[in-house]
């Protein structure tokens, strides 16, 4: 009797975890409603939150009783990235999610944890995407993520500050740029927003990329980072942006909140970020929004180059359950129809890798499109070309150089030491 009781108890104990950790997997069997967990940062204050939720709701209504997509909210981008990496590293993944396409994320293509879309994209689906987008997400012939959001990061100029300082035109060369900086400081403002903190020193990393565009031209990332002098030369220019009051006193150690906050507060004249920031500037700083003009960075040997890169790719967990796979593909196809992508783009200002017919933007969105369309060339950013630990070293090395404790050569050498 006692033995039977113990066996029963053991059986219950073993069975409990399978219920607790099933995570909707068992529901895909038979005719039951298939549950898809969509883990995303497009929630809360994110400008894509409302249109994404609307599309998910529409999909759920259209597939009532068959498929149900549940949004798992992850409002913190850095924490989300950590969570996804940890999950993927442990061999699991949310049913649908997004990642920043970079050399670390693409390493997961070698695993079986991601769903492979290669065959699916051989059909009509591929025509939904802009030219070259699918190729940017294809490695060794496999497409295991869907390009979704593109990042373009031209320079944001606060023309009220520039005009008050006596600068009527956007600086076209570095001489004009430094001249404008002096005038802006004389008028009581700070020329540029910068930051060394966060996981990627975002704003300063983008300034560095613009400088590289100007002095290194297209294909600069094909050069050897450790030895090519263009990277040192660009570092010297970036360092100058940190000296003599050319940026705010809290830039060293500051994060995106610091960098963006100064621009929103009308304290800095020049800033860099992507189109996803337009909605925030419009709602939180209407005066700055009204004064904002989008344009290229100062040119040198090359001019009018822009920084553009895949920002977010949609990804799905691999599954051996054909019904679940079908449901996931059905949802992803829904999210990537031109009509639905247009809804997201229209509402958020985001620029997508999916065709978005008929989208009309506000003044700044239109300037973004013009800046990208008129660019002499588009080049990806530092983050796209290196692994996350190299990216993390960028901010640390920049802080050292900007503090006067490392030269531009040492800045490059410190980063290069992490490239393996």
């Amino acid at each position: 009797m006692k033995k039977n009781f113990l066996v029963a108890l053991l059986a219950i104990m073993l069975a409990v975890p399978s219920f607790v950790f099933a995570n909707g997997q068992s529901e895909s069997a038979g005719d039951k409603e298939i549950e898809i967990r969509f883990s995303t940062i497009w929630v809360g204050a994110d400008t894509k939150a409302a249109p994404v939720k609307e599309l998910v709701d529409e999909f759920n209504t259209a597939n009532a009783g068959k498929i149900k997509v549940i949004i798992e909210e992850n409002p913190d981008a850095d924490a989300y990235r950590s969570k996804i990496n940890t999950m993927l590293g442990s061999g699991s993944a949310p049913d649908v999610f997004s990642f920043n396409p970079d050399q670390t994320s693409f390493m997961f293509y070698d695993s079986d944890v991601l769903m492979d879309f290669t065959d699916e994209l051989k059909g009509d689906w591929a025509s939904n995407f802009v030219d070259g987008a699918i190729e940017s997400a294809t490695i060794n012939g496999k497409t295991k993520s869907l390009p979704f959001e593109m990042g373009y990061t031209p320079i944001w100029y606060n023309m009220d500050i520039l005009e008050e300082a006596g600068v009527s035109e956007i600086p076209q060369t570095f001489d004009e740029f430094w001249d404008a900086c002096e005038k802006i400081k004389a008028a009581g403002y700070v020329p540029t927003s910068q930051m060394t903190g966060g996981t990627n020193a975002w704003t300063s990393m983008l300034w560095y990329c613009h400088i590289l565009n100007a002095i290194g031209g297209p294909n600069v990332w094909e050069k050897d980072f450790a030895t090519d002098p263009v990277f040192v030369e660009a570092a010297e220019i970036l360092n100058r942006m940190y000296q003599d009051g050319n940026t705010t006193v809290d830039a060293i150690g500051g994060d995106a909140g610091v960098s963006g906050g100064h621009f929103l507060a009308g304290q800095t004249a020049m800033f860099i970020n992507g189109p996803w920031y337009i909605g925030r500037v419009e709602s939180e700083a209407p005066e700055v929004f009204a004064a904002t003009q989008i344009g290229p960075g100062p040119g040198d040997k090359y001019s009018n180059g822009q920084v553009g890169f895949p920002q977010s790719n949609l990804v799905a967990a691999n599954t051996s359950d054909p019904a679940k796979k079908e449901a996931v593909l059905s949802f992803l196809k829904w999210m990537t129809t031109p009509e639905n992508a247009a809804k997201i783009s229209q509402a958020s200002g985001a620029m997508l890798a999916v065709k978005t017919p008929g989208v009309t933007g506000n003044r700044v969105q239109t300037q973004f499109n013009e800046a990208v369309n008129n660019a002499s060339f588009l080049q990806t950013h530092f983050q796209f070309n290196f692994a996350t630990d190299v990216m993390a070293e960028f901010g640390q090395a920049l802080a050292k150089m900007a503090s006067g404790k490392a030269t531009a050569e040492e800045f490059v050498a410190q980063i290069a030491s992490k490239i393996r």
Binding site: S82, G89, G197, T248, V249, D250, I252, V258, D389, A406
Partner: protein
């Protein structure tokens, strides 16, 4: 009878032993084993011998992180715990409002580290921070600084915000202090001992076991310190506040699990050895 008791003890210990083996011994062995490999977490690890350790110990930033962990351990063990002990001794004398003060000192321990880190980041902010505003207000404007962005002050600033959160150790020491019979102090007072003499000759010797325990705990917290530094500076600027936990985290994010596990193994071995050594010196006299 003794044999039967031994079996019972073993049976009662078995569940804990199984759990401890499954969730500590096995992962620890796995971490150590894979620390000798190049491994991205999802393909088969490739054995690389001591390469990960050679790389780490040749890395200036790793040595700096190790040093920072040791400083953290020292500050928590030999500044925070003594501060907590002093405060516990004062409160044990039951001055007016001592219960209120006890609660106030303990309060930060129930507040999220994230909230505290955010608060201190705002206090230290170079442009709009309270600290710089205060310095300017009292005529010390020349001392204003980018506290978390200056390589020379960031580490001290991060430690400073943590060292005064003495509540946890204070409560532990206070509980032990309140268990010392009042008659000891009454007798000492009759013999003419003043308060300081009473504390040095009665309280501290009686508290020695709990002090060794709290110092050991503080050293362990210091060796594995991560949260507030990660939240406030991410280890920057220029790695000046970095600790081994942050280096481990960065390696894990970059899918360098072999190197990350080498850091983890070093942390366990080095931390264990340091704590063991300090405990040995602290308990040496007691054992005698």
């Amino acid at each position: 009878m003794q044999n039967k008791n031994g079996k019972m003890i073993f049976i009662f210990l078995l569940p804990v032993l199984i759990l401890f083996s499954a969730f500590f011994i096995y992962p620890l062995a796995y971490v150590i084993a894979t620390s000798f490999s190049k491994w991205n977490g999802f393909t088969a690890p490739q054995f690389v011998g001591f390469d990960n350790y050679k790389y780490l110990f040749s890395d200036e930033n790793f040595r700096l992180s190790l040093r920072n962990n040791i400083v953290w351990a020292g500050v928590l063990g030999f500044i925070q715990v003594p501060l907590a002990c002093i405060m516990a001794m004062i409160l044990a004398r039951r001055p007016k409002g001592w219960k209120f003060l006890r609660t106030v000192y303990f309060l930060p321990n129930v507040i999220s580290q994230v909230a505290l880190a955010m608060m201190w980041t705002a206090i230290y902010n170079a442009q709009n921070g309270v600290l710089n505003a205060l310095l300017t207000f009292v005529g010390l404007g020349h001392l204003t600084n980018n506290w978390l962005g200056n390589m020379d002050t960031a580490f001290a600033a991060v430690i400073f915000q943590q060292v005064f959160y003495i509540g946890y150790f204070m409560i532990v020491i206070l509980a032990s202090r309140l268990s010392i019979p009042d008659s000891y102090y009454e007798a000492a007072e009759l013999d003419g001992a003043n308060i300081l003499q009473q504390e040095f000759h009665i309280t501290i010797p009686m508290l020695k076991p709990i002090l060794i325990t709290t110092i050991t705990l503080a050293l362990a917290y210091g060796m594995r310190h991560f949260e507030s530094t990660f939240l406030m500076t991410g280890g920057g600027p220029a790695h000046s506040t970095s600790v081994m936990g942050i280096m481990l985290y960065t390696d894990m994010q970059a899918l360098r699990y072999g190197e990350g596990n080498a850091i983890g193994a070093t942390l366990v071995i080095f931390g264990g050895a340091t704590i063991g050594l300090i405990r040995y010196f602290l308990t040496k006299n007691s054992d005698n």
